[in-house]
């Protein structure tokens, strides 16, 4: 059983050929890689591709004992995410052959995205103060930056951020989210 193992122990076991350790590493890292992918690629299918590509590279490195500091697995995975996203932006056709070969083995189950009560959210947004509602709508309609929203509302970027933070806190509370 590898579930309770530290990252560093997983790294050592994978270098020794332990397939269970490989599976546990993939299970542990895949959701984190996917979140990184969602943030930077803004696409669920592309984020799923990123998971496979990163796991493939990490596994290859670990099997060949190329990670010199085993306790830095997370940093290694993050660095691989960053390099892979850069590569993905350069070329969307990369590594298709490798994915065709190994892709099926590198798709651990992902945590589901939480559902949202749309009507309750509408009530919560309508309950915001006018400035907060304007900032929320202008921000989320099209990923407005704070600078763009600030220009539209004749206020400072810092003020837009403060208003947005306050609105997000209030919305989460209204939606019943735990802090």
């Amino acid at each position: 059983m590898c579930i309770g193992l530290r990252d560093a122990d997983l790294v050592s076991r994978i270098a020794e050929g332990d397939r269970e350790a490989e599976a546990e590493m993939c299970r542990r890292m895949a959701p984190r890689i996917r979140l990184y992918g969602l943030r930077h690629l803004r696409s669920a299918p592309t984020a799923d591709d990123l998971v496979q590509q990163v796991l493939l590279k990490v596994l290859e490195a670990l099997r060949n004992a190329r990670l010199r500091e085993p306790d830095k697995l997370a940093q290694f995975v993050l660095g691989t995410c960053r390099m892979t996203v850069l590569d993905l932006r350069r070329s969307s056709q990369r590594q298709e052959e490798l994915l065709a070969m190994y892709g099926g083995e590198l798709a651990p189950v992902q945590p589901p995205m939480p559902g949202l009560d749309d009507r309750q959210l509408a009530r919560c947004v309508q309950a915001l103060k006018e400035r907060e509602r304007s900032v929320v709508v202008m921000t989320f309609y099209d990923d407005h930056t704070a600078a763009e929203t600030a220009r539209a509302l004749e206020t400072s970027e810092a003020n837009v951020r403060v208003i947005r933070h306050r609105a997000v806190r209030q919305l989460r509370a209204c939606m019943g989210a735990a802090k």
Binding site: P31, A146, A152, H165
Partner: protein, 199 residues
């Protein structure tokens, strides 16, 4: 950084507002790096980020639905038009009235209220019935002092279901003592053109 964190423990949870900034790409490079280092070891904060992403997605859908009553800017309307939304806009003159309606395929409904805001510090938008009795107050709306107008999006959902009626919008300057001064009054004669329940 420990690698034994699981869904039940996190010694330094990232605040949801910071996670939202991360999702919106609004953090500095160093703060973004710190957040990503943390997320790569902490599933608890990963779960919180999923909540934040769900909230952001819900807010985007809601913002694009046209169902909110909210003060917006020209930039917002331009983007809406560019993304293919049908924007129905009414701009009655100050002190005047206008006939208005909505069609089934309209996506956004906005009122453009021409006004001089140079002497107002706080501005309220009051919605009144045809007798002038206030029905709703949008307090301390965001305005540009140098702007020629206030743009208020009305709920398209509400407007499509609304019976034929008259509404009066009043822009009010409110001073520190709470005294009010009318900056402009605008009358909307709404005619329902979409079939619905009897009025």
């Amino acid at each position: 950084m420990t690698d034994l964190r699981d869904r039940n423990e996190c010694s330094s949870p990232i605040e949801a507002a910071v996670l939202m900034d991360y999702w919106l790409a609004a953090l500095s490079p160093s703060d973004e790096d710190a957040v990503e280092q943390h997320l790569m070891t902490c599933d608890r904060c990963g779960d919180r980020l999923r909540d934040v992403i769900a909230l952001a997605d819900g807010l985007r859908t809601l913002a694009r639905s046209g169902s909110l009553q909210v003060v917006v800017g020209d930039q917002f309307l331009n983007r809406a038009t560019r993304t293919g939304l049908r924007v129905r806009e009414y701009a009655p003159p100050r002190g005047g009235s206008i006939q208005c309606t909505v069609a089934a395929d309209d996506d956004l409904l906005v009122a453009r209220l021409a006004v001089d805001l140079t002497t107002a510090s706080r501005v309220d938008l009051s919605w009144c019935d045809q007798e002038g009795a206030e029905r709703q107050r949008m307090a301390d709306i965001p305005v540009r002092a140098d702007g020629p107008d206030v743009i208020c999006q009305q709920s398209i959902t509400w407007a499509k279901a609304s019976p034929t009626s008259t509404m009066i919008a009043r822009l009010l300057a409110v001073d520190e003592k709470g005294d009010e001064r009318v900056l402009g009054e605008y009358t909307f004669h709404h005619t329902r053109t979409i079939p619905g329940p009897p009025e």
